[in-house]
């Protein structure tokens, strides 16, 4: 007790999911205070302006695209797919961590997920939203996308091609987006009722009241609610695994060397979770410091997330090794050349950068000292975000730029519009996330309360 010189190990063993000193009232107060307050902190406004500037840039880039056509992007023959699909896969992948935290960890009864599930799910929704922009605008005429994407025949009576992974992807991603929003909203209902009951102004009472649907928290309500949450978690688990599997089919079902690989589905899912946890850390570390949530998002959460990042990072590393092995073992000159081109061709720098981040740097996460060093982990999470973007760049561009016939080889150079669209979606994401932090309880109030002694009931009959 008196000895404050804890070693890191001792600190971790003692760190509970919530730091002591919390009761129902302090939990409600800490979390509900932010959406109910009248203050708009200067830092929040500053970041919002940055986000809005990015979103404005996105609007410009997309407006010009609609005006001129997709020729403004750097895509060409042979690199017909570039930033559009790289960014799509990158954003969709990031979303996966939110569903993993809210669904898979719920099924495994991991209590530590409760403090981070709400904003990880919000991250999922915004990431999928950003992802959807790319394929829709890659069609060039997004107002006609209904004919091409949705199961709806065009004027000639022709339907979308259901034998194509691209249309499977439409079903997978739109289901994923819908279920994520539904799951998130269901999780919010009791907390919205809390905001309604504590609402300070009339307008907040009315808005949160309508959104909470008149939730009363009766025994019957809660029973149905718990059943529904468990079912939604059970449904989201196979769903999230299917989404990146289907995304990987977009590549693996084709016959392009570097894409046509059986390892793609598990390798893509692991990569998605890896990049998603990096993004959760990128968001959680500053939010935790800025809003003083350190007693609810403890060092134990940070450590656990770093461990998941390490585990999935190792799987991704295995994927890289297997890609190289398949290329060699296939004995196909095209496969072997693809791998050689990837490593030592004109884009070799991107391959080695990605290896140094996703294979080498991630090994430092074996050290507890690194996993509990919040500042260092934040920087590492930024690197992982870059590394996973480069992974998609490597898979897509280096597989396409030198195909079967040397006369058709070519280079891909992104244009300013490519970069404006990409950074623009980051601005849109930042804007949406900041609005979420300000107007919605960022941590699930009722779930965190279930961890406190006040909500525990002795199993036997009390006297």
């Amino acid at each position: 007790m008196a000895n404050h010189a804890h070693s890191t190990t001792a600190l971790l063993e003692e760190t509970p999911v919530i730091l002591p000193g919390h009761d129902f009232e302090t939990v409600t107060e800490t979390i509900a205070e932010i959406p109910l307050s009248k203050r708009f902190p200067l830092g929040w406004i500053g970041f919002l302006l940055v986000g809005l500037a990015g979103a404005g840039m996105l609007q410009m880039a997309l407006g010009y695209l609609v005006l001129k056509g997709i020729g403004i992007w750097g895509n060409n023959a042979p690199v017909g797919w570039a930033f559009d699909i790289i960014n799509f896969v990158w954003w969709i992948g990031i979303g996966h961590a939110g569903t993993l935290i809210s669904a898979i960890l719920l099924l495994f009864k991991q209590q530590w997920r409760m403090s981070i599930s709400r904003f990880a799910e919000a991250m999922t929704i915004f990431a999928v939203m950003c992802a959807a922009i790319f394929p829709v605008f890659h069609t060039g005429r997004p107002w006609l996308a209904a004919y091409w994407l949705f199961p709806y025949p065009n004027a000639m009576g022709l339907w979308p091609q259901f034998k194509s992974p691209l249309i499977w992807d439409v079903f997978a991603v739109s289901t994923y987006a819908t279920v994520s929003v539904v799951f998130w909203y269901v999780g919010l209902i009791p907390d919205l009722a809390t905001l309604r009951d504590r609402g300070v102004s009339r307008i907040k009472k009315v808005i949160y009241g309508m959104l909470s649907l008149g939730w009363r928290g009766s025994a019957r309500h809660w029973h149905r609610y718990e059943v529904a949450s468990l079912i939604l978690a059970g449904l989201s688990t196979p769903l999230v695994l299917s989404v990146h599997t289907v995304v990987s089919f977009d590549f693996a079902v084709s016959v392009i060397p570097g894409w046509h690989a059986t390892i793609f589905p598990p390798y893509f899912v692991a990569g998605a979770i890896y990049s998603g946890f990096a993004m959760v850390l990128t968001l959680a570390i500053p939010v935790r410091a800025f809003y003083g949530m350190g007693s609810l998002i403890t060092i134990r959460h940070i450590d656990n997330m770093a461990k998941i990042m390490l585990a999935t990072g190792l799987m991704v590393g295995y994927g890289y090794a297997m890609e190289a092995f398949f290329a060699w073992y296939s004995a196909s000159p095209h496969e072997r050349f693809m791998m050689w081109n990837r490593m030592f061709g004109p884009y070799g720098w991107s391959y080695w950068t990605l290896i140094s981040i996703n294979v080498v740097m991630v090994q430092f996460l074996w050290l507890k000292r690194v996993r509990t060093n919040v500042g260092l982990l934040f920087v590492m999470s930024l690197f992982v975000n870059v590394g996973m973007w480069l992974e998609r760049f490597v898979i897509i561009v280096t597989s396409l730029n030198r195909d079967f016939v040397p006369s058709s080889w070519g280079m891909f150079y992104p244009t300013q519009w490519d970069f404006m669209t990409f950074f623009g979606t980051i601005g849109l994401f930042l804007t949406a996330f900041l609005l979420f932090l300000r107007f919605v309880p960022m941590i699930s109030i009722f779930e965190v309360k279930t961890l406190l002694p006040q909500s525990k009931v002795k199993a036997d009959h009390a006297h």
Partner: protein, 182 residues
């Protein structure tokens, strides 16, 4: 407020408790007393509370199964109809009804329909959205979403008597007992 309204327009009597444990003990005692129209309100889900008071479990899982099967049939039917009946087209010489390629959309629609059934079913079976409910008339009830636990014996209960119910709830260790106006 409504001085001219008939008195005793009561929804029931509400007792307030400080912890989940106290609420469960009181709920057990109330049911043992023979009351049947009882409802408990809490800021957190409490395991067993529904079983103690209502004794029945929700039919939601069965509805979700039905929703999922409907989604699967819709997904498969849509693709079969579009590919075989509405616009048959030869793709690489594969059969029109190449069912293996129909798996992914059928699977996704299974999950979509099941998840929507779970969420919408939970909301509708609970009678929501319902902006007005008599329990909201009790001022203390705003704490039900924060840190207090409540138990209501409703006037619809055949055994209900305002004074007796109030006395009884006080005896269960309630921190306060309030009338709930209709």
């Amino acid at each position: 407020m409504h001085t001219d309204a008939p008195t005793n327009r009561l929804h029931g009597v509400m007792a307030e408790f400080d912890s989940a444990q106290a609420l469960v003990v009181a709920a057990r005692a109330t049911m043992a007393q023979g009351f049947t129209k009882v409802e408990a309100y809490s800021p957190v889900p409490i395991e067993d509370l529904n079983t103690i008071i209502h004794k029945t479990r929700t039919i939601l899982p069965k509805l979700v199964l039905g929703g999922g099967l409907t989604g699967m049939a819709t997904g498969f039917g849509l693709q079969y109809w579009a590919s075989v009946i509405a616009y048959p087209m030869n793709v690489g010489g594969r059969p029109q009804a190449s069912w293996t390629t129909f798996i992914v959309p059928s699977y996704e629609l299974t999950i979509l329909f099941a998840a929507l059934t779970a969420a919408v079913g939970m909301i509708l079976l609970s009678g929501l959205p319902q902006p007005y409910h008599p329990v909201f008339n009790v001022e203390r009830f705003s704490m039900a979403s924060s840190d207090k636990f409540f138990l209501v014996v409703e006037s619809a209960d055949p055994k209900f008597d305002q004074r007796a119910a109030t006395e009884f709830l006080k005896s269960t260790g309630a921190k306060g007992v309030y009338d709930v106006e209709e």
